[in-house]
C-alpha cells in the first residue's frame, strides 16, 4: 500500500503534466498561441487595423463636416455681417400692473427721429393687439417692443424677419426697416385661445410727406 501511494504522488507531481485539465482539454492561451500561427502573439493584430474606415465612408464624413461648416459660416454671415438677428430680451415687466406701467400704459408709436426711427410699444392680450394699426413713412426703422398682459402670444410681421414670442412678464424686441410702401400685416402665431384667429393688425408704410 505504501509503495502504491508513493508512486501516485510521484506521478501527480510530474513536471511534464502540470495542466489541471483532463486529457484533450487545452487552455485558451494554448489555442490562441497555437503552433499554426506564424506570428508571435504580440504582433497578431496591429492597433490601426481596429479603426479601419472604408474610403467611401471617409469621403462622406468629409462632405458632412464640410456641409456643417458651410452652414455655420452662412448663419454667422447672416447674423453678424447682414444684421439678421433673433429677438432679444429687453427686460421684465409685471403683467398684472401693465396698465399702470409706462410706456405700456399708453402703447403705440413714438418718434425717435422724425421720418427715420420710431419705437413701437405693442401689448398683446386675448384677443387683440394694442395698437392694431400704425403708420410709418417709407425708409423708417421701427423698433418693436412687445409684451403680453395675459397668456403667451406671438408676433409675426408678414414679408419681414420680425417673428417673436410675446410672453407675459418679458419685453421682446426686434427692429425692422421698411423700404417699400405697403401694408404689412402682423398676426399672433401662437395659439392663445378661441379668438386666436382674429388677433391681427397692420403696419402701414406710406410715402414720406414732402417737407418733413
Amino acid at each position: 500500500m505504501t509503495d502504491d501511494t508513493d508512486s501516485q504522488d510521484a506521478s501527480a507531481q510530474d513536471p511534464a503534466d502540470e495542466s489541471p485539465w483532463p486529457d484533450g482539454v487545452v487552455e485558451a492561451d494554448e489555442t490562441f498561441h497555437s503552433e499554426e500561427s506564424a506570428d508571435p502573439p504580440d504582433k497578431l493584430v496591429e492597433p490601426d487595423e481596429h479603426v479601419h474606415i472604408d474610403a467611401y465612408e471617409k469621403n462622406w464624413i468629409r462632405i458632412a463636416i464640410a456641409t456643417l461648416i458651410l452652414f455655420f459660416i452662412a448663419v454667422l454671415f447672416a447674423g453678424l455681417a447682414l444684421g439678421i438677428q433673433v429677438p432679444s430680451d429687453e427686460g421684465r415687466v409685471d403683467p398684472n400692473t401693465l396698465a399702470e406701467t409706462p410706456p405700456w400704459s399708453e402703447p403705440g408709436l413714438r418718434t425717435i427721429v422724425e421720418g427715420e426711427e420710431y419705437d413701437m410699444y405693442i401689448v398683446a392680450s386675448r384677443f387683440s393687439f394694442d395698437p392694431n394699426q400704425v403708420a410709418v413713412p417709407r425708409g423708417a426703422t421701427v423698433n418693436i417692443y412687445s409684451t403680453s398682459s395675459d397668456v403667451q402670444h406671438g408676433f409675426i410681421l408678414r414679408d419681414t424677419n420680425v417673428n417673436m414670442m410675446v410672453i407675459p412678464g418679458q419685453v421682446s424686441k426686434l427692429s425692422a426697416k421698411f423700404d417699400k410702401v405697403g401694408t404689412f400685416d402682423f398676426v399672433c402665431q401662437e395659439y392663445c385661445g378661441l379668438g386666436h384667429a382674429v388677433m391681427f393688425g397692420q403696419i402701414v408704410v406710406e410715402e414720406p410727406v414732402e417737407g418733413e
Partner: protein, 46 residues
C-alpha cells in the same frame, strides 16, 4: 455542377448608393439655401 458564385466582387461600385446619397445631399442644399435666401431677402432685423 455550375460555377460557384463568389462571395464578393472586387470591382463592385455602389452606384445606386452614390446616386441616392448625392440626390439627398443636393436636395438638402436646395432646401436649406432656399430658406436661407428667403430670410436674406426679407431684410435686416438689427
Amino acid at each position: 455542377m455550375g460555377p460557384v458564385a463568389q462571395d464578393f466582387d472586387e470591382s463592385f461600385k455602389p452606384k445606386g448608393t452614390w446616386a441616392f446619397v448625392t440626390g439627398f445631399a443636393v436636395m438638402l442644399f436646395i432646401l436649406w439655401f432656399s430658406v436661407y435666401l428667403l430670410v436674406l431677402s426679407r431684410g435686416i432685423t438689427i
